[in-house]
Symmetry: D2
Subunit: 267 residues, 4 copies
């Protein structure tokens, strides 16, 4: 297989894309950009990076894990620029990666879900196109998978994530609205697959519900699974990512990758 | 097996409960009251009655299909009284039916989903207790399964259902609110499992989303699955209930019974 | 649904067929004749009758449980005549039972597996045709499902079963051969699905292996699953038929009905 | 992840082990040595190497693909020495590979199935211990998975494989017996999981049946799945390894990896 790490920005060696690509495929595969979470303060790629990539890879989807700008560098649109560069890199190397450039999806977790949703919703922001210099639509995913994602900046917000991407702990309403995903869903938004646990104590399930409502209003196709049990950060929902924490293991949750791959076929 | 039809009301032979109960179980089983849809104008029990009962029965849940008051007799609380009598009958015959009276669930489809949700939410209505003469809580289910259910009487309402249960085509806001499920979810509401298709053109998916939001607000445990494809009335989602209409068959949808049975174990 | 018991022989009220048939199907279904075990000494229909019928029914296969001649009446070909009458009855009532008369399968357990295999292998015995008066092939199933079946009368035989059907505890080699299934597999034999547990202490797994070998030799299509764990009599392999005996529950075993239904589609 | 290729023999750079190991596991994992087929004439690792490794890896099993001696170098025990060195290397690097050295399994396909079965059956051959210099039992797997494996050198043999490992096209009966797996199953043999298709035109299904019989006789635990349809070389049984050949895709077959992983838990 091809398993290598690519530097996405000449100016920042921390922004990387790690490829998980099978050898000798006989046809172009679907691709998945995997965006781990961490509240835009760090990157939880141990649980939400490689294990996710391998789960998709084994189901026929070549995968790529992104390390994006966090902490002091998290101010938007910088992480969205990182993700856009990643999308463009994958598409530009479709032949090397044995993938179909029209079928590059993204999956994100928690804050990574916000970045994934930003890519699927705000891919056309002029400042992103300006900063990346990419042709219009080059960074647009074929669909987005949003796992217990930070989405809404309203009263159900995961505040820390928004403080990080706004670069202030006292944002105005207007600033918050700017990256509150459910407010930007329109005809440009890509199809979505969402999953969340009802009792998530960190990112309230309303983040998924409000976004689903906005998707429905705009008639953007979506699939949504809310599982009754499980804390924040369930990742694969099985022992592989639970580190022995039984609350992170649940047979209902553990079906989501299979379901997401089935959903992708319908896109 | 025991497969018989019971008359629930001495005054109306059309209100019946049909039992699907296995012989010689070695332990008390869970029970499921199955409530078919039909807009409170008729009862679609061919697709949403027996096939559902048999699907649960084969997974270890004894099942009972309800025929309730519809059409000219649909005015509330009459159908809710029917469903309450059914719950009481099942619990009162726990020994004959080999079931645990503390674990009688209900599942409803479309308008039957409204009646199922009414049972899980409005079981304590004084007029219902008065009319049935049942002890407080006797009609309360252990949990409710709501399939592409009519739930909200607001702008996303399936109007026909509400006209039928209100007995008027020009209801007031206050009348509509009375049976708009999401407005009555409180600490008395039972755990819920909801499923819907995103593109349902008859009962908008917002019915499920608004109810999920209300459940979340009240911290009532719930599970929700929204599948991207499928018209109204998918029933089992497989060839058994599709009558050859391929739009009613979908492998994603067809998992819901299995998922609901797993959910029941967690209650 | 239609759930009734039919008497198959005017001369013996104990020989019956119990139908489990859904109402209002929109197309002709497959049918399954269910033959419980009991060493030809009794009929274990509590665990290997109705629960099996309901498992197939819920997956779209109308089912019929047979009570056949056992004990003092077990001498062959009498039980095979019973099973033949059952097949003929089902086919003759295809319209009433909403089934395709060309797609009536049989499934048998332990000694019932022997009877099922006899039907699929020895359906053309002249004495059976003579005694039943049925047209040639009327009793032939479309395929046979053999669960931990008594099949071989050789050194791996479940002796009790053969003593019962031969009516002697000191049969000659020639008598034993007469109903040793693996010796009669030829171009008349129907496709087979076999399952067994490797450690079955009552009916050795060689019964399945020898039969598979004979099927392979004759190029009769077959599917075979041998699960490593489980005592004799696993039935459904889940809690429904385990009566609390955990050894009778196993997730590997519990897939066989689903697998058998998939196999039927390929016939 | 760790994805590197190790040279197993100083004298032959073609004999390699390619590791597929996840980063930062929180507990020691099971390991799987993957042995592709090719009739001991070549190595089909494109379809029976990496795709298999990734399928196990995604289910929590770290995997290692072996390239062993074939063609002019295939004469036994050389390939068995290669496989023994691979087992020893994996166990000796248990810490680096995050695996439990007591739980290293092997899986083989076609001729690779023969090599896998040789490892599980003939691991104690004096000439192998002599040539490798390994401590007794160091090369013994925890269990063996045999996929449409070349096993018997008798009348159902895949002759080409045996000619290659015997180094002659006119072997004596005694020579053939030496590596005919079913003749060497005894108390030293490890638990087995076998799968085959009934209509395999290259390696007859009897190879699996005879071996199962021998395993049963010795009371070695085994699981066996024979699927009715599919040519030789089904690999994963899905589109990933079918190269567009629909005969290599079958939903029944495609369950085997999942089943094998479940089987491993029971060892």
């Amino acid at each position: 297989m091809l398993n290598k790490t690519i530097q996405l920005r000449p100016d920042d060696p921390e922004i990387t894309l790690t490829a998980y690509v099978t050898d000798e495929p006989w046809k172009a595969r679907d691709a998945m950009l995997v965006i781990p979470g961490g509240g835009y303060g760090c990157i939880c790629d141990d649980r939400e990076g490689e294990p996710i990539a391998l789960a998709f890879l084994a189901r026929g989807v070549n995968a790529f894990v992104l390390k994006y700008s966090v902490g002091a560098k998290a101010k938007f649109p910088r992480p969205l620029v990182d993700a856009s560069l990643a999308m463009a890199y994958i598409k530009d190397h479709a032949e090397e990666f044995h993938i179909d450039p029209d079928r590059v999806f993204c999956v994100g977790f928690s804050a990574g879900g916000h970045l994934s949703a930003s890519l699927g919703t705000l891919w056309h922001l002029p400042e992103v196109e300006a900063e990346t210099g990419l042709p219009h639509g080059k960074n647009k995913p074929a669909g987005m998978v949003l796992c217990y994602a930070v989405l809404s900046a309203g009263k159900m917000a995961h505040k820390g994530s928004f403080y990080n991407i706004l670069g202030t702990q006292t944002p105005t309403e207007e600033e918050l609205d700017r990256y509150s995903i459910e407010k930007h869903i329109d005809e440009n938004t890509v199809p979505a697959f969402l999953m969340h646990t009802a009792e998530d104590p960190v990112v309230p399930v309303e983040n998924a519900l409000y976004t689903a409502e906005a998707l429905s209003k705009q008639k953007i196709p979506f699939e949504l699974h809310i599982y009754p049990h499980g804390p924040h950060g369930v990742a694969l929902g099985d022992w592989q990512t639970s580190r022995g924490n039984k609350a992170w293991e649940d047979d209902a949750v553990a079906k989501w990758v299979e379901d997401a791959v089935y959903w992708m076929k319908g896109i």
